[in-house]
């Protein structure tokens, strides 16, 4: 197996990975950086983010407001030291992107423009039309091209972390076009591999969002934190699951049921605000968890609209007018038109909640360090405990930047402390990866089909770990996912070629997703309360006595994972009531 020697390996070249790479290259130009990704950087799913990125910039706003919005939005499961760091770094990072050429929308005087977003008390969401993630990703990627110390390994599929003496010393990966394995030896590894939303059948996530980075760290012994918190975005297209950005509502779009009623007022987010005059933190500008839950209740009451794509509610943007829609929501306009045949200028568009984002991930502290020395993580794959039990829209694009950079700085500090290592001492670990892959190729008794197992996993997650959960369903989910993990050991590789074998990649991705799915279900079963995006019909209240704690899931080989807890860091905001009603009832 060929060896690549480098200083820092970054796994994943989306927003967080690219930001980390640039921070490393700028801060320590002599370091060798290997940026590994299973896709070309521009394909990373950061590109699909639409609405924008939050950072305090306008005179009427304050860090305090952003702090409290984030902590309350996360139902007090955020670590407040982390939030504190984040809100102060956010505007700097967004300005940095501005200096790098990001085409942010502007005010007439040339300053950056901001828009309202769900759960935010002030307008602080920077945006580039409704392609903010796309522009952030391309700005970062293009900027990264000027640094000679960044060596990209595009379309290398990360496989296993190389551990030695308890430290992370590199990674094994497969060059996808040749099928050849490489071992990357490094002093530190930063995982920035994204979330695992594809474990659900109906998701805004791209096909690549299979949690490979999360599972890699998990297999190497890193605990996963708060995995049970899965965010449903309230407004997805009912057929493809494509995201219609929260900016639809930020700009003034309203949600109605089949009676034409703006039903959010019936779920503590009223009173009704005038159409076209959105009021911050009220009605349609409530947080995503509340809005998705309101849909579920409307469904139970029979108030949803039956369409050929299933039960929906309506997102009405007609009153915004053609000019504003074309200027600020061109992608939404195009998506609804082409995939659903609805012109949002003329008609309300049917929508329903769709799995969007994982608050949980590899457990990291505010320095983006995992408990494993030498392993850092940032972005959706990490749980730095910024988002708590529910992420506010437009915080995650900034999270990529703030903690991508932070992971790089932490890695640089860590490098000083790493003892030298004889390269051959990682060979045995690397060979384990080789054997794992060869076993797939040589197995002739494979009976389980990849697509069959994947379908069962997705159906289980949708049925048992959806917007509302209960003990029996979750227990069934845990049992089923555990069974699928066992059956996965007999999965059949149909395609035996070595060259760009997507059958193989999908099998590897399924393995990652099953690991993540088990952590989600086990964590959800153990959390007997309702908080943020984790809602239980059998434990309807938040329980701060027992569960103001982070769920930590530890992998135990083929057995069920072990769960323990970590206290939430509370500095200045004791748990309180989440108030999204306009009249503060």
């Amino acid at each position: 197996m060929e060896t690549v020697s480098t200083d820092v390996v970054i796994v994943g070249a989306g927003g967080a990975g690219l930001r980390a790479a640039i921070a490393l290259a700028e801060t320590a130009p002599t370091l060798r950086i290997a940026l590994i990704s299973k896709v070309y950087p521009m394909r990373s799913h950061t590109c699909a983010a639409e609405g924008g990125a939050a950072g305090v910039i306008k005179p009427d706003d304050s860090f305090d407001f952003h702090f409290h919005d984030t902590v309350g939005g996360g139902d007090w499961l955020s670590d407040q030291d982390c939030v504190e760091y984040f809100i102060h770094e956010a505007p700097k990072e967004l300005l940095q992107l501005e200096h790098w050429g990001c085409p942010w929308n502007r005010e007439a005087d040339g300053s950056v423009a901001v828009r309202p977003f769900g759960g935010m008390k002030k307008q602080r969401t920077w945006f580039a039309a409704d392609k903010s993630g796309f522009h952030i990703l391309h700005t970062l990627f293009q900027t990264s091209l000027q640094f000679p110390s960044i060596t990209r390994f595009d379309e290398y599929f990360g496989l296993d972390l190389l551990m030695h003496d308890g430290r992370c010393r590199g990674i094994t990966a497969m060059e996808m076009r040749s099928g050849e394995l490489r071992q990357f030896h490094a002093k530190a590894v930063i995982i920035a591999g994204g979330g695992a939303g594809r474990m659900f059948p109906f998701s805004t996530n791209g096909a690549i969002k299979t949690g490979d980075g999360i599972a890699m760290a998990y297999r190497a012994g890193a605990p996963l934190k708060d995995m049970e918190f899965v965010q449903y975005h309230p407004t997805g297209l009912p057929n493809t699951g494509s995201l219609l950005t929260e900016a639809c509502r930020g700009e003034g779009g309203i949600l109605t049921n089949k009676h034409g009623r703006r039903y959010l007022q019936d779920y503590g987010m009223g009173p009704e605000t005038p159409v076209g005059k959105p009021q911050l933190k009220t009605m349609e500008l409530g947080p995503r968890d509340r809005l998705s839950q309101a849909y579920w209740h409307e469904l139970q009451k029979g108030n949803t609209v039956s369409t050929q794509w299933g039960e929906c509610v309506l997102l009405d943007m007609r009153h915004l007018g053609a000019k504003k829609i074309r200027e600020r929501l061109p992608l939404v306009h195009e998506l609804a038109e082409s995939y659903l045949g609805v012109d949002i200028i003329k008609d309300p568009v049917p929508i329903r909640p769709v799995v969007h984002y994982m608050m949980g991930g590899i457990s990291t502290n505010t320095a983006a360090a995992t408990p494993l020395p030498g392993l850092f993580a940032a972005g959706e794959c990490a749980c730095v405990s910024l988002n708590g039990a529910n992420r506010l829209g437009s915080n995650s694009l900034v999270e990529l930047l703030v903690f991508g950079r932070r992971a790089a700085l932490s890695a640089i500090d860590y490098l000083q402390t790493v003892p030298a290592l004889d390269a051959s001492s990682l060979n045995a670990a690397a060979d384990t990866t080789r054997q794992r892959i060869e076993a797939l190729y040589n197995r002739n008794d494979g009976v389980e089909s990849m697509s069959g197992l994947r379908r069962e996993m997705m159906d289980t997650m949708e049925k048992n770990v959806g917007i509302y959960r209960n003990e029996a369903g979750l227990q069934e989910g845990v049992n089923k996912i555990h069974e699928l993990r066992a059956r996965y050991t007999r999965v059949k590789l149909t395609d035996r070629s070595r060259v760009f074998n997507t059958d193989l990649f999908q099998i590897l991705e399924l393995g990652s997703m099953l690991d993540c799915a088990e952590a989600v279900t086990v964590g959800a079963l153990a959390r007997r309360e309702s908080r943020g995006a984790h809602q239980r019909l059998d434990y309807v209240d938040r329980d701060d006595t027992n569960f103001l704690r982070h769920t930590m899931v530890h992998r135990q080989g083929a057995d069920l994972p072990r769960v323990d807890y970590l206290d939430v860091v509370i500095t200045r905001s004791p748990p309180g009531v989440r108030d999204y009603s306009g009249d503060h009832k």
């Binding site: 076009r177 040749s178 099928g179 050849e180 070629s497 070595r498 060259v499």
Partner: protein
């Protein structure tokens, strides 16, 4: 086994049959031959004029031959087509921004057609057509 990328050669002499838009492009390029040929004709005309009145009269007679008339018709059609593609291109090459908005491309191309028509009328006027 390992990689062995497949290179698909582009046929150098027949590529433009692969797609109608390539044929349209070739048609545009071919029309420039007629435009060029007409320029050569104008040079010859100058040379005949310089050679004296007899040479010039012979040249004018030759212009009235059927071959010449067919050539002129073809060249004029080609010139129209070529000029059209050129004018249509102006909106791409010379976008005009006023404030935040761009002047619609049809205005820019349209202005070129307009100037073309006016200039043609002026030429025809001096040629004594009216």
């Amino acid at each position: 086994m390992s990689r062995r990328p497949l290179i698909r050669e582009v046929p150098p002499a027949s590529w433009f049959f692969r797609h109608p838009r390539y044929l349209r492009y070739m048609a545009r390029e071919v029309t420039s031959v007629f435009v060029g040929a007409y320029c050569v004709l104008l040079v010859i005309a100058m040379q005949r004029l310089a050679a004296g009145p007899i040479a010039w009269q012979e040249f004018l007679v030759a212009l009235r031959s059927p071959v010449s008339i067919i050539f002129h018709l073809l060249a004029m059609a080609a010139a129209f087509y070529h000029a059209g593609t050129w004018f249509n291109a102006t909106q791409k090459a010379m976008p005009l921004q006023i404030g935040e908005n761009f002047v619609p491309g049809s205005y820019i191309s349209g202005a070129h057609y307009l100037v073309w028509a006016v200039l043609s009328l002026v030429v025809l006027f001096f040629a004594g057509v009216f």
